[in-house]
């Protein structure tokens, strides 16, 4: 102890930066995909059409009762099998994250849609808007405005979750840190550095969320 070697971080910075870029890309794409699919699931659950609502509820509850690692294993196994050819770790992971996070996003979005007062929908109907027009121009814009802080919070959680691609050796920031830690034999430095980087990004994110919430209540 006491001989902390910071040069190991400096020397491997480009490699680590590549890993971090993969983590951030994966987060960004999974957030977008998760919100789109999650909105679909939420609309299905609130559609009032029983088979659609049941299917969406079943999917959401199934995904929410299994661990993310198991979902990642599932899609690493299923995606190449279903397509008949390998498509690379990144896309398998991306599909797994979108499918997994959509279940969590759909619960947030469902609550957001329900927070829009019923009178808004009635007003839309009275003006002669169709179902899709009401969703597109009345309900969803208001719902998403209400949800922004919690959607960002979920994004921060997702960013932390991307570290789990470690289990399939996809080279995100976590895996990159771990590779450097092992090859250089510098476990303490690398894992503490990884913790600091994750903490800085996530803490900054949560401060940003707090500002958003303050701006909304003010």
């Amino acid at each position: 102890m006491g001989d902390f070697d910071l040069s190991v971080i400096w020397n491997n910075l480009p490699f680590l930066w590549q890993g971090l870029q993969l983590s951030l890309w994966l987060t960004l794409l999974a957030v977008i995909g998760g919100i789109i699919l999650g909105t679909g699931l939420a609309l299905m659950r609130l559609s009032g059409i029983l088979p659609l609502a049941l299917a969406a509820a079943g999917y959401v509850n199934l995904i929410r009762s299994v661990p993310l690692i198991l979902v990642i294993f599932w899609f690493y196994f299923l995606v190449p099998l279903a397509l008949g050819r390998p498509i690379g770790g990144f896309y398998s992971a991306l599909i797994a994250f979108v499918m997994f996070e959509a279940a969590y996003y759909s619960e947030i979005i469902r609550a957001g849609i329900q927070s829009v007062r019923k009178g808004q929908v009635h007003a839309g109907q009275a003006t002669g808007l169709s179902y899709w027009q009401i969703q597109r121009y009345v309900v969803l814009p208001q719902a998403f405005r209400n949800m922004i802080p919690i959607l960002v919070t979920q994004g921060i959680i997702l960013f932390q979750d991307t570290s789990l691609v470690f289990v399939v050796s996809l080279r995100d920031f976590m895996t990159a840190s771990s590779i450097v830690a092992r090859t250089e034999g510098r476990l303490a430095e690398m894992y503490i550095f990884a913790a600091l980087v994750y903490f800085t990004i996530c803490f900054a994110g949560s401060l940003f969320v707090r500002r958003l919430q303050k701006a909304r209540t003010a």
């Binding site: 661990p67 198991l70 294993f73 196994f77 932390q160 570290s163 476990l187 913790a195 994750y198 949560s206």
Partner: protein, 238 residues
């Protein structure tokens, strides 16, 4: 899609044994970590609401620290880094003589991480009781300790039963991260069966079904618990 179905593989003695042992470890990690998380989480959560500034700040720091670092990184810190940065003798003991190091590390890491989440629920519960009852307690001459013991904690513990249920389910799911430090819990065993037998579909289905059953079981227990702990007249205000 070419796939040779063989559900029988799950019932071969060897692989069935792996699955059962995985279930055992999943329960062992999740339940022990839950006890740790409850104990520390309640202390930290109460600490955040105390009038003492230093205590509240310290507890807030704990929550922020543990919530903003991925659980995987935390597990690696406990497993790989902790023995390096503690005094030499202790580090040597942790590396060589500590019984069941993967299990102890997984429980510690998962427990302390979940404690930060439990603390947030406890704090929210105490805040939900509202300032009126606290003022009433002080007006009756209660000390801070008495206010917590007789007013705030009994009410808030009952208020937070529903969100704590979902934390309890989360700890089962998060226990799967123990596989990254070599603990063969349920997810790890199903992955291992998939690798040995090439029957990935069957192996992952088995694990999925078991997790769903655990979730259903916990939900049923939670509903019974919620029924008994509900405070008449308080529901709907929170």
């Amino acid at each position: 899609m070419n796939y040779n179905w063989n559900w029988g593989v799950l019932f071969e003695e060897e692989y069935l044994g792996w699955l059962m042992s995985g279930v055992g470890w999943t329960f062992a990690v999740a339940l022990a970590a839950w006890v740790l998380a409850l104990a520390i989480g309640v202390l930290i959560g109460v600490g955040r609401t105390l009038p003492s500034r230093p205590v509240a700040t310290l507890c807030t720091a704990y929550v922020e620290l543990f919530r903003n670092v991925p659980l995987l990184v935390q597990l690696f810190l406990w497993y790989f880094v902790m023995p390096e940065i503690v005094p030499d003798d202790l580090g040597r003991w942790m590396k060589r003589d500590m019984p069941n190091p993967e299990y102890v590390t997984a429980v510690t890491g998962l427990g302390l991480y979940t404690a930060s989440r439990v603390a947030e629920q406890v704090r929210a519960g105490i805040n939900a009781v509202g300032p009126g009852l606290t003022s009433a307690a002080y007006a009756n001459g209660f000390s801070t300790a008495q206010t917590y013991r007789y007013v705030l904690l009994p009410i808030s513990f009952r208020l937070i039963v529903p969100p704590m249920t979902s934390e309890f389910l989360t700890i089962f799911k998060n226990s799967s991260l123990a596989l990254t430090i070599g603990l063969l819990e349920l997810t790890a065993q199903s992955q291992q069966i998939a690798e040995y037998t090439f029957q990935g579909f069957e192996a992952f289905t088995a694990a999925t079904v078991i997790y769903v059953v655990i979730a259903l079981g916990a939900t049923v227990i939670a509903q019974i618990l919620e029924k008994y702990t509900r405070i008449p007249g308080f529901v709907g205000k929170g």
